[in-house]
């Protein structure tokens, strides 16, 4: 093959091979994007729909809210997975100085809001660890926010999704069953007054109570899932020293009919 032929073949081959490669990479890219979009659509469509494989041989009543499945039932049907609907939402006050590292000083006032927003992530992660002690096998933070008050306090709120540590149990029903939600107050008729430094111990006891309550339901119904735990706070009249806390849990179960 002489030099002229090589040059001629080269001139033809470069665009042809280039086009083939371009088409190949385009296909991979398009397929990848389409695949991602498709799975995202699937995920969105699945929200509000319980896993159809759950208790497929049973007729379960009380699962619907309008046309959609109830959020608690959707979460229950995905008991072993992290589910957006299964959550702990906790609000509590801490002292601003308790957010500082050793030797660190409070930042200038213009940066306090940024500071508490950043440091709240640590508190949210710590809350997940607290949850794992009794209630959760897995935990992720989906939201954390903080607001500094004028009196050296910071109101923190965290939102967590979790997978329950204790077993769901067994469904006693053979053919027909009902989905039931039980809402229980975990604090008394008046809120519990808790010191700022004692907040974590208090919340830990709330999570333990929720687990115990679920254990109790399981002994009667055979099964129980923790759907939500909600902990709220308000400054007590002696706002310099304590906060008033309330807690509620929503548990769910499949009852035999």
């Amino acid at each position: 093959m002489n030099l002229l032929k090589i040059i001629f073949i080269g001139l033809i081959a470069v665009p042809v091979v280039g086009t083939i490669l371009l088409q190949f990479f385009s296909s991979v890219l398009v397929f990848g994007v389409a695949h991602n979009i498709s799975s995202e659509i699937d995920r969105i469509e699945q929200r509000g729909k319980a896993d159809s494989a759950f208790a497929a041989d049973l007729e379960i009543t009380g699962t619907k809210a309008g046309n959609d499945d109830k959020a608690g039932y959707v979460a229950l049907a995905s008991f072993e997975k992290l589910d957006d609907y299964r959550s702990v939402n906790a609000s509590f006050y801490v002292r601003l100085k308790d957010m500082l590292d050793a030797g660190e000083i409070v930042p200038e006032k213009e940066l306090v809001s940024a500071f508490v927003t950043a440091r709240t992530s640590r508190f949210a992660d710590a809350e997940c660890e607290l949850l794992k002690k009794s209630l959760a096998a897995e935990c992720t933070v989906y939201n954390s926010a903080a607001t500094a008050t004028n009196n050296g306090l910071v109101r923190i709120s965290v939102g967590l999704n979790f997978v329950q540590k204790s077993d769901f149990g067994t469904i006693k029903a053979k053919d027909r069953a009902a989905y039931v939600e039980i809402e229980e107050r975990l604090t008394g008729s008046t809120p519990d007054t808790v010191s700022f430094s004692g907040g974590a111990i208090f919340r830990s006891s709330i999570y333990e109570q929720a687990v115990k309550l679920c254990d109790k339901i399981r002994t009667f119904e055979g099964n129980c899932a923790i759907f939500k735990v909600l902990i709220t706070t308000a400054l007590s009249e002696q706002s310099g020293s304590a906060q008033n806390m309330r807690a509620t849990a929503i548990l769910s179960t499949i009852e035999a009919l």
Binding site: L111, S113, F115, A118, R119
Partner: protein, 343 residues
């Protein structure tokens, strides 16, 4: 923008670029006024006079040239804000000139930002990271001061110039020969500056937080040509918003009257946005025009700001984006990656 406006605007741009700045454009400058939500938007080249009368800037200014993006003041000095909400009243030997604009579309190479704003941006950046988005919220344009040339041709008496504004703006004084400014009162929100003022002129300013603490906002009187006012006519449910604006205007105008002896709205000079305003008559002969003084090389008296930067926008963005990232890293305890959600 219609075709006439476009042609006129192109003419302005073309003439602005010419070295022969003695030429006054032909055509009607009113054709270039753009009715916006809160009044007229006058483009560079159109000078706003008394009661929103437009003129070509070249009809009062000789040697006018558009602002260079790189044109920096020679010196920046601090302009202290008043602690009190009151100003000296005009004397019998003074003529009061009321200039009021929201801001200017002509931008300078001067940027100003407060520590408070930087703190808010740092917080937003942290929120973005927590949501999995590594986006530094930074819009340099928001911090860039506009420029309004204040052309003073009034010679009957010394002028007591009262300038009200809303957005960060530099007022570049252009004084005609034989005209005199006795005092300047500067009232408004955000950063503001005065350039090319004679050193003997007494300047009193009430800006930023000090202005806010007086409980008034420099609101212009809503007029029929405002798009917002027209919208209210078509959508009566918006009337409450208009009423609120009118009420804010009345509060400001009442405060203005208490200080300067007259309401703010009547016989004022300006527009929603303008790059040049005229205090006094148009000179009768081209030779009598004011010689243009650019911001470049001038002494700029600037309201107190935590961070001031003069230079290219890209350099400003680079520097202050870095400041935000550094502050966020410190607030996070040294590691921004820990703020990002777990994958």
């Amino acid at each position: 923008m219609n075709r006439t406006k476009l042609i006129a605007l192109l003419l302005i741009v073309a003439l602005g670029g010419c070295s022969d700045s003695g030429t006054v454009p032909t055509g009607n400058p009113a054709d270039l006024l753009n009715p916006e939500m809160r009044g007229y938007e006058a483009p560079a080249g159109v000078m706003m006079g008394l009661n929103e009368t437009p003129y070509w800037v070249q009809s009062a200014v000789a040697g006018f040239r558009p602002v260079k993006p790189s044109g920096l003041p020679g010196k920046i000095e601090e302009l202290k804000s008043r602690a009190s909400c009151t100003f000296d009243s005009p004397g019998p030997n003074e003529i009061l000139a009321k200039v009021q604009v929201d801001g200017s579309n002509t931008k300078s190479a001067v940027f100003a930002v407060s520590r408070h704003q930087m703190g808010e941006r740092t917080k937003t950046y942290i929120d973005n990271l927590k949501a999995g988005r590594d986006i530094v919220p930074f819009n340099a344009r928001d911090d860039r001061l506009g420029i309004v040339d204040v052309i003073v041709t009034e010679k009957s008496k010394p002028v007591y110039l009262v300038i009200a504004y809303n957005l960060p703006t530099i007022f570049n004084i252009q004084l005609a020969e034989g005209a005199r400014i006795s005092r300047i009162a500067l009232v408004g929100l955000g950063a503001a500056g005065i350039a090319n003022a004679h050193p003997a002129v007494k300047i009193q300013s009430l800006t930023g937080k000090a202005m806010q603490s007086c409980g008034v906002l420099p609101v212009r009187e809503p007029a029929d040509h405002w798009q917002f006012v027209q919208n209210v006519k078509q959508t009566p449910s918006l009337k409450d918003v208009l009423d609120k604006n009118i009420s804010m205007y009345r509060v400001f105008s009442g405060w203005y009257r208490k200080n300067f002896g007259v309401a703010s709205g009547v016989d004022s000079i300006g527009a929603m946005t303008a790059s040049h305003v005229l205090v006094g008559p148009i000179p009768q002969a081209l030779e009598a025009r004011v010689t243009f003084k650019p911001l470049e090389g001038s002494t700029l008296l600037l309201s107190k700001n935590d961070h001031v930067f003069a230079g290219e926008q890209a350099d400003y963005e680079k520097k202050y984006t870095h400041v935000i990232i550094e502050a966020a890293t410190k607030m996070a305890g040294g590691d921004l990656a820990k703020l990002m959600p777990a994958q």
